[in-house]
């Protein structure tokens, strides 16, 4: 049962990159990258290996300071802000190689994502003030909610390292959701998944977008997934945006084909 699609007027911009470039030494890893993600968007970012997708991702999430250009989250400029500040502003992400807190339980993994909502100071934690206790209860309740959203309630006390791979991926998503984002960046969410898991992933991503009123950006290699779930796709090659459009448009674009398969294949396609 999916929620109704979001009315265009309510689609506020959640993540905007404006001509962001990343220059490392003499290398221009990313060149004037722009993207506009709004509430309810399901966008994809693809490109061959080394195209600059991860660089773009890191520039958007505050891991890199943009050499040029501007990134805005919910309208607020975030150039130079630390990742944790950007998270508080409404941007959440998952990691390509799952980065869960391995020794901690599933519940704790998600509770940490709720940490930035807590206002109680260390002293209050030590004194166990009523305010602190209320916040702790709220955090636990919130974390348990997101665990159940991702179907992981039964595993709440299981250490993250003991979870099967698919559940670990879902836990990462639960964790990202628990930060309360407006925009969610998924870094190769299908990596390491088998066909059935990938097939389950697509409706899951759509559901996340609908239920949580998010804008979602997916970086992926798996073409079927991206073409199947994303509404707008941006294609990078050597740091440059070579195409942007619907899956059908991108699929047919000769420049995209050339980037992936080389020039002769593009000719064959044209």
């Amino acid at each position: 049962m999916s929620a109704p699609a979001i009315v265009p007027e309510l689609r506020t911009e959640v993540l905007v990159a404006n001509k962001v470039s990343m220059v490392f030494g003499g290398l221009r890893a990313l060149n004037e990258f722009s993207i506009d993600i709004r509430t309810g968007d399901l966008q994809g970012l693809i490109g061959p290996n080394g195209a600059g997708k991860t660089t773009a991702f890191n520039a958007l999430t505050g891991v890199y300071l943009p050499s040029e250009g501007e990134v805005r989250v919910r309208g607020e400029r975030v150039n130079g802000k630390r990742p944790h500040q950007i998270c508080s502003l409404g941007l959440a992400r998952t990691f390509q190689n799952i980065r869960l807190f391995k020794e901690l339980t599933a519940l704790d993994n998600v509770r940490i994502a709720c940490h930035h909502t807590a206002k109680a100071a260390w002293l209050q934690a030590v004194l166990r003030t009523p305010g602190f206790l209320r916040e702790e209860a709220a955090i636990t309740e919130r974390a348990e909610h997101y665990l159940s959203v991702m179907g992981l309630s039964a595993k709440r006390d299981e250490q993250a390292k003991n979870l099967p791979y698919g559940e670990q991926r879902r836990l990462e998503i639960a964790r990202a959701l628990a930060t309360g984002p407006s925009v969610l960046l998924l870094d190769e969410p299908a990596a390491g998944m088998n066909t059935r898991e990938k097939a389950d992933l697509m409706p899951l991503i759509r559901r996340l977008r609908d239920e949580f009123k998010l804008g979602i950006l997916v970086i992926e290699h798996d073409m079927k997934l991206v073409m199947g779930v994303c509404e707008t796709i941006t294609v990078l090659d050597h740091g440059i945006t070579i195409a942007r459009g619907t899956p059908e448009q991108v699929r047919a674009d000769p420049r995209v084909v050339e980037a992936y398969l080389g020039a002769p294949a593009a000719e064959k396609h044209a």
Binding site: R82, F101, K102, L104, T140, D157, E158
Partner: protein, 336 residues
């Protein structure tokens, strides 16, 4: 619930001490008390260091420096306070008040040093951070050695003997309680997240920089208190008690007990303080065998006695695999 959890390690430690006490008939009363006091101090040091090394996953090997700062500051203050008398208040009480004042001031000075040492942690990882903390510990010691006002290399003596069994073990209890409460809170979880994966923690909204520094500051505070208590029962201090070897001894207690485990740190502190006493006869081989023990320990069980868990997690009372103190606290009324 946290209070019960805080008592558990102490109860076990005291039981252990009582047992050992019975096994050491040859030692006289005073000496035994002295050993127990040393145990208490080491427990405080290990538990406080555990917050930085075990919970937050940083490499701090200069803890003796914070202990020294706290001890010397408290002692310096006490020596001057001892000359005063508060009217109408019995001596014991005024001494207690002065002691608390001296300890707190000592703790704050130590935590200031913790701030200074914590700052490099923002840019340095692993081994580099270890070296900086080691360096700071040594610098503090060298500075003390060259400061005549606190006795220099000769040491500081005539410190009023205001700390006894009660004072030290109150300190132990407070340290364990605060540590436990911090760990079982969102702040403790944030620190654990930093240990597990700093990049992910930052991405999930944890201010890793601020928290790492804070861990250093709080840890140093309690080390300073421990140093202050140490000063007030030893009644004299010498800089050579605070060498890098002392820091290593505390690090070993944390590692032996299991990184992040409070009960582990307590147990390890007790065992490692008592062991040399039991092996008095082998005293000249002490350091060499200590070195050998370190190597064997790391080869055999690098994750320590308890790994990352607490002692109560080894015997789960309920069916759940990890009973959690704060679940009781956090569970909203009426929910299943």
């Amino acid at each position: 619930m946290a209070i019960v959890r805080a008592w558990a390690p102490i109860a076990i430690a005291l039981a252990l001490l009582a047992a050992v006490n019975l096994l050491l008939p040859s030692l006289n009363e005073d000496y035994r008390v002295h050993v127990l006091l040393d145990v208490g101090i080491n427990v405080m040091l290990a538990v406080s260091l555990n917050l930085v090394n075990g919970v937050t996953g940083q490499f701090s090997i200069g803890h003796a420096g914070f202990m020294a700062l706290g001890g010397y500051t408290a002692a310096f203050l006490s020596i001057r306070l001892a000359a005063y008398q508060l009217h109408g208040i019995p001596d014991a009480v005024s001494q207690g008040l002065f002691l608390v004042l001296a300890l707190v001031v000592g703790g704050m000075v130590a935590s200031l040093a913790g701030l200074i040492v914590g700052l490099p942690s923002l840019r340095l990882r692993g081994d580099y951070l270890a070296i900086v903390t080691l360096g700071f510990g040594e610098i503090i010691r060298v500075l003390i050695e060259n400061t005549e006002a606190v006795g220099g290399a000769r040491g500081l003596s005539n410190i009023p003997p205001w700390a006894g069994f009660f004072a030290v073990y109150v300190g132990v209890f407070v340290t364990i309680l605060c540590s436990r409460r911090l760990l079982a809170s969102t702040h403790g979880r944030a620190l654990l997240a930093i240990r597990e994966d700093e990049v992910a923690a930052e991405a999930m909204g944890v201010n890793t920089v601020g928290y790492k520094v804070r861990a250093f500051v709080v840890s140093a505070f309690f080390a300073g208190i421990a140093g202050g208590l140490y000063a007030h029962y030893q009644t004299n201090l010498a800089p050579k008690s605070f060498t890098f070897i002392r820091s290593i001894e505390i690090v070993v207690m944390v590692v032996l007990g299991g990184m992040g485990s409070i009960s582990g740190s307590v147990l390890a502190a007790v065992v490692l303080t008592l062991a040399p006493e039991l092996l008095r006869a082998l005293d000249q081989y002490r350091m060499a065998s200590y070195g050998l023990m370190l190597v064997l320990l790391m080869l055999a069980r690098p994750s320590g006695i308890f790994g990352t868990r607490e002692i109560w997690e080894l015997w789960p009372l309920r069916k759940k695999s990890k009973p959690d103190a704060d679940r009781e606290l956090a569970r909203p009324a009426g929910s299943p």
